[in-house]
């Protein structure tokens, strides 16, 4: 589904990603792990067009997407969440989720200004879908609140609802459970499993190893911008390079 080939990204000459290559197979959960500063978020930003890769190629369903603008990539069916929440704090929770359906909401400003009946009809349908998504994440009773006032855990869930409401082909999640407590983490884990069962393809960046081991089919390990291992969770867990990347850091810190 998604194929990265030798993706490089430099920030002012300093390499953040060096020749990263791996595949995200269709219908599976691929976890991307690695110590802090390994380049995981940078990689997600390069895939989604928030940053443009310095070199290398990204194929989505066999088509080159590297270098395309973010909105075009989103319209191909790739959706994402951000590590540092990026909700629209002044919009209502419902409107936040509705922005996840932007691609289906029509593009013509002229039509929108005329408020033609077909648009009103479509708007009602989108609203129903957004309400359903809110219901799935247990946020129905807060749909009219401005998103800015929500508690942290709720904000995380609104972002998940926004990313999933459009039924994207590929979902990139940057640390969806960071900052959540054990119970909330479990609930999100179940929701991710549910998404996988429904046939979604996920690329999951996560530090929570329990969650990764529980739901990932494949794990890719990044260290200092290089892909040092890939395989099933079991294989990766026993890989000496991975142990070193993690333990080496800890010793250096200790």
């Amino acid at each position: 589904m998604l194929q990265l080939m030798s993706v490089c990204k430099n920030f002012g000459g300093l390499p953040a990603l060096g020749h990263v290559s791996f595949q995200v197979p269709h219908g599976r959960v691929t976890a991307l792990i690695g110590p802090n500063g390994a380049g995981k978020s940078t990689l997600i930003n390069c895939i989604t067009g928030v940053l443009s890769a310095t070199s290398g190629s990204v194929l989505f369903k066999g088509k080159e997407i590297a270098g395309q603008p973010a909105h075009a990539i989103s319209r191909l069916g790739i959706s994402r969440t951000f590590q540092n929440l990026r909700l629209f704090p002044r919009l209502s929770v419902l409107d936040n989720v509705l922005t996840g359906l932007t691609c289906e909401g029509g593009q013509s400003m002229a039509m929108a200004m005329l408020r033609l009946p077909y648009l009103r009809h479509r708007e009602r349908q989108l609203k129903l879908r957004a309400l359903e998504a809110l219901d799935r994440f247990g946020l129905s009773d807060k749909s009219s609140w401005p998103a800015g006032v929500l508690a942290y855990g709720d904000k995380k869930r609104v972002e998940l609802a926004r990313a999933t409401v459009g039924q994207p082909d590929l979902l990139l999640l940057d640390e969806p459970v960071a900052g959540l407590n054990g119970e909330e983490t479990f609930v999100v884990g179940e929701q991710l499993k549910h998404l996988r069962r429904a046939g979604h393809t996920l690329l999951l960046v996560e530090h929570d190893m329990d969650l990764v081991m529980r739901i990932a089919d494949q794990v890719v390990v990044l260290d200092s911008g290089r892909c040092i291992a890939a395989g099933t969770p079991e294989e990766v867990r026993r890989n000496p390079l991975v142990l070193e990347a993690y333990l080496g850091r800890m010793e250096a810190v200790a």
Binding site: P69, S74, F82, D95, T99
Partner: protein
Amino acid sequence: MMSARDKCIYFISLHRTGLTVSLLTAALLLYPLYEDNPYTLGITNLIAINTMVVLGLNLFIGYTGQISLGHAAFFGLGAYGSAISTATYGLSPWPAMLLVALLVGLVALLIGVPILRLSGHYLAMATLGFNFVVHSVLLEWDEMTGGPSGFSGIPYLGVGDFSFDNEVRLHYLLWGFTLMGLLLSLNLVRSGVGRGLAALAEDETAAAALGVNTRNAKIKVFVLSAVMASIAGSLFAHCYTFISPDSFGIFTSTDMVIMVVVGGMGSIWGSLFGAGLLTLLPEVIGIFETYKDFVHGIILVLVLMFLPQGLVTGLVDMVRVRLALRRREAQ
């Protein structure tokens, strides 16, 4: 089962926008019956013209998160465009107005494509520069524009033998246009496209990741706002039959921005309020006449210090947040 009262409340909340627009339309239809003083009508007519410019500018500021300190230039191009094409070249006013609006839209597109790559201070300065250029051209090119002494002899608008030549008739003409602008703007912001724009105003990166073509959206709204300002300018010219460059300098641009700020970023109804309040202030309180720019400056600073989203929007936001927080506590 819903009681009759609940049903009534539900109906009102469902159709609140339509109902408000209808009420406003009715009030404006009846207004000249109750108020026939031409001076007062002149002021409310000016509110209509200002509202039209402020609506467009507020779409640009509040729904793309950008800034323009040059909208008086589009307003002026509309006014002089109509004046020159009708009085000098004898075009008939309605087609001239349309043609001028198209041309001004084209100008906005041509300058929008390069300058909307900028943002913040840089964009503010670029639009300000554009206003300076247009203003100097209006002043210097006397053969065409009449220079500093202005341009007179602009014909009234009319339909057949009927001519919009007194305050009451102009009231219906101007408010007709303003209501149409208001309705189109309300439709836009309540649509899916409008939601994408609201997202763009809050967080450009997130909006782009959700599929909003941020660059195009900014340019489109900029052009739309320029066209609205141009139409308002044409009406202004045909309403007063005399125009001079004074009306289209950078202070007019900043006044428009202050009206947006008082109305609140992204508030369509607020635009009406902001334009109304700031047009009325100097009339209601005499000393404002002399210290107008000073007072406007103070208002701008105070509102932005305490309510960065603008007065109306800021207050509405505050109430919404209070209510939501109270419900959050209650849970």
